[in-house]
């Protein structure tokens, strides 16, 4: 099976937020839940760079390691998913995650966060593939339909790549060689303990 990854080419990202609204559109994510967001560094200054961030579906995911109810699981495609029927909304995963991916539908004290929600790599959840129950709890399951996450598919400048780690790393490598610069595959060392060597 493929090892699914995200790769963000920050030399291409223009902070257009297509990834953000594509995610909302595909998964009907409610207001206030941002499975994906774009963060801009050095905003308005030379060296400004934007990075689109979501769950990176880490190798040995820290969220998984700290979850007290073991609601996380890793699919055969190496996508990190969780079971909302087990989740107790404790928020540990939020503290463990290096990317700020976990989202909670409510703000409150003492476990009233509600069920954690995060990017599923458009791979749904533990319910039956592409069932209504799966959609309502987790959103779309594009992987089961043979498609990739919509955020990356709709990225205006093709800065955000999603797919088999080997394939997208090769696309990025070719791009960097052709243009002569590249600031690296953002977040890869943290998420996958490796980097894209050119």
């Amino acid at each position: 099976m493929a090892r699914m990854k995200f790769l963000l080419d920050s030399d291409r990202c223009i902070e257009c937020n297509a990834c953000v609204t594509a995610c909302k559109n595909e998964n009907e994510v409610p207001w206030g839940i941002n499975r994906r967001r774009v963060v801009t560094l050095n905003d308005g200054k030379p060296g400004e760079r934007s990075v689109s961030m979501a769950c990176m579906h880490c190798t040995d995911a820290p969220c998984q390691a700290v979850c007290p109810v073991s609601c996380f699981y890793t699919t055969a495609d190496a996508v990190v998913l969780h079971d909302k029927d087990l989740c107790i909304g404790c928020g540990y995963c939020f503290y463990a995650c290096p990317f700020g991916a976990p989202q909670y539908p409510r703000i409150g004290n003492f476990g009233t966060r509600g069920k954690m929600d995060k990017c599923t790599f458009c791979a749904g959840g533990p319910q039956e593939d592409n069932s209504e129950a799966e959609f309502i709890q987790y959103g779309s399951n594009r992987l089961a339909q043979g498609k990739l996450p919509l955020c990356a598919e709709m990225c205006s400048t093709k800065a955000l790549l999603a797919g088999d780690g080997e394939v997208i790393a090769q696309i990025y490598r070719e791009r960097v060689v052709k243009r002569g610069y590249g600031s690296g595959a953002w977040g890869w060392r943290t998420a996958y303990r490796e980097t894209v060597t050119i």
């Binding site: 223009i14 297509a18 998964n27 200054k45 709890q137 205006s156």
Partner: protein
Amino acid sequence: MLIKRSEARAGKQRLAAAYAGLSSGGLDRRAFLKQAGVTGVGLSALGAIPLTTVRPAAAGPVNHAEPVTRIKNVCTHCSVGCTVTAEVQHGVWVGQEPSWDSPINRGTHCAKGASVRELVHGDRRLKYPMKLVGGQWQRMSWDQAMEEIGDKLMAVRQASGPDSVFLLGSAKYTNEASYLFRKFAAFWGTNNVDHQARICHSTTVAGVANTWGYGAMTNSYNDIRNAKTMIIMGGNPAEAHPVSLQHVLSGKEINRANMIVIDPRFTRTAAHATEYVRLRPGTDIPVIWGILWHIFQNGWEDKEFIRQRVYGMDEVRAEVAKWPPAEVERVSGVPGAQLRKVAELFATQKPSTLIWCMGATQKTVGTANVRAYSILLLATGNVGAAGTGANIFRGHTNVQGATDLGLDVTSLPLYYGLADGAWKHWARVWDVSYESMVARFDSKAMMETPGIPTTRYFDAVTLPKDQVEQRDNFKAMFVMGHGGNTVTRMPDAVKGLEKLDLLVVCDPHPTTFSVLSGRKDNTYLLPICTNFETDGSRTASNRSLQWGYKIVDPIFESKTDYEAMYRLCGALDRAAEKRNMPIRFQAEMFRNIEVKGQEPSPESILREINRGGWSTGYCGQSPERLKLHMQHQDKFDLVTLRAKADAPAEIANDFYGLPWPCWGTPEFRHPGTHILYNTNLAVKDGGGTFRARFGVERNGVSLLADGSYSKDSALTDGYPEFTIAVLKRLGWFEELTADELANIRRYFGENIDSVSWSTDLSGGIQRVAIAHGCIPFGNGKARANAWNLPDPIPVHREPIYTPRTDLIAQYPTLPDRRGFRLPHLGQSVQNRAKELAPNFPIILTSGRLVEYEGGGEETRSNRWLAELQQEMFVEINPADAASRNISDGQWVLVAGPEMPRDKWTKVKALVTERVGPGVAFMPFHFAGWFMQEDQRSKYPQGTDPIVLGESVNTVTTYGYDPVTFMQETKVTLCQIRAA
């Protein structure tokens, strides 16, 4: 960016609500009420609609057990022309998929394009016709609304004449609706018909057309991939046209191209540039002349190109000589060494392209600006080949098409103008007599006089009658698809709106017009569907036409533009009959247009456009050909846009979307013109020359090309435009077929010598010219000197409101004058502004955000977009913020010199080095707050946009381009203080 995102706000929560049933942590009652409070208006309004009469717009997840229909349409949010692929089940738009086959967007979207499905969920759409009665909105039926509106319009016509109605159309129309609305204005008997192009690229159209023939993008987004050097000046495509950046950045990467951004703001586009040049707002001409100074100084200009294809460059040299580096730096602030570098790259690392947008055009010197840009391209020989050109990024989805089809106070469709020859041409196409058209106007003179543009509509309401050169002031305004906050001087606009006898707004949303003024009565709102709910073609910025298919039926009680216009015509007929007025509409206007029920067919409207569209090459794009292109999108090349070798025969050799000019009849199968004025291709393959539009000689100097001609041309030198007389002189007249000749004689009788390529309805003249490799419009020189403009050679003129009052004496704005039936003050306002300048020390400029579009009503009502930009803000430099004790994210007050005394707008501060010291920036998409008054409660219940805010145009000031009355939105003055 603190102010961008606020957390813990709940909207209409489809997914969250679903959690409640399936998981334990659902919403309790208290939480529900808390969330409902935020969107309470929307929810309660939805509850109030009787479901029996309103089509529900609810969308659910895709049911994978059942078949899904995929339908292609075109994104409505900018001119790039991204294909949108919708998944539809049971008449509901349930999903959006990437449009991989489109050579323009290749699957991608920006934030707006990726969220268009929400527009057709439509929680906040206008759901049924409404009118104001004593300040309260009342629901009414379409029939009732149409009868009342028709009757009131006819009353205005009877009392004040046809010119007292202002018809404001839309760049969001399809081509067919644009044309229909322009045709309606002609049948109503006025030239007071306009649309958003006035306020985005009217100066481009005027300036560029006056330089080389047509006022449109010469190349395409895709062709930018061929450029080795690109200058983006006065544009921020990373936010305004994000998908274009795919081509720009790919070009930059593949060619290791130089990407130079010249802008007062360090924009998101500038963040990706290889060179960023910061200039003082309003000094574009000094900077361009500064670049040309280095080019001429070093002999980098393309001398052969200038000799063969440019008229009047020597006069430009004389003007440029006045701009040595020291003077350029004194006026614009740009160092000479940096401009030398830019000049060398642009002139020597070719092909080079110049990309611009509203930073160039929305100026009191807009026309002169774009003329200077074009001259820079001409001087370096960067027009008419791959990788070169004036890549003008238009704004709305179909602002190019709506411009082409004459939603304009100065022209009938397709740039025929208003002279009697133009009227006679269209009368022939429409199958009506010229005399019957004259009878519809107040007089033949008014018929040939340009109307009043949208930038000044309120002046035409409020000025004394004797200052408005028509029978009466504006008494009624009929608006379709246009925001109310897009025009400068909003406090004055409010006065104008309040004084109107009748205001009709037709739009998917109520728009700012519905809340801005204190109107209490005689105000109607008609729900129009979006373009996703109708069929029709749209012209992208690169002149390609794309056919969009209806995705779902119009939601709620909304109707298509076509149907609304057809119904209006019917209502007017009945009103005229009642008043014993002889004028009629429906029968004559729709004589050759197929109408199904109450809905005119867009296909048949396009065929009528084809029948009359010779001047601009809108004659070859039949609906059948456009539909084939949509069907075979994957068969077109990414860079050349040409059909690939494996394309089916019916599209073989075509350029994608048959970019105009697409000569001859559809059967002639011209492929369209990807790159204008390209002499490297034969005319039948999409090649061409500069248009011989300005005569054949001036002061003894030839205006025809000198030894330059398009590939395979039988004439190897310049030649004038083709007429029957020219064909006869060349001995080609006999090549017209008997049918063509019969057609010509039918319309023109026996004396046919003056029949030209643009008036011949048979297409014969075009066919014969092209058979000899000649372009129908002639082979002329581009004009560096456009003698008919106020400034034949562009000269620098300080903005009306300038902080550099010391430069006014040397570079004054034009003297007061008249234009477009109105007074146009220049120097008198500038002289007054000089006195005010010390109190308003910060330059204010405005522009786009990626999440929103135009006046923003549509996008601010889209919850997926609204969440991303929740507050109106002003960008202010840290130095200016520090001296005013302003910290990032706090409320500040902003005032302009023309606002009522002691009135301020209230916005959030974004303290950033993105703007230079002394410069502030505000986005132009916000409305709903007016000088600190929250107008949310004035919207019809449930239709208020999610996000409201102050409009920048409450602050912006007087200032108009002399050629087009383009407004000045990019340079004015303001004061900012902590709230």
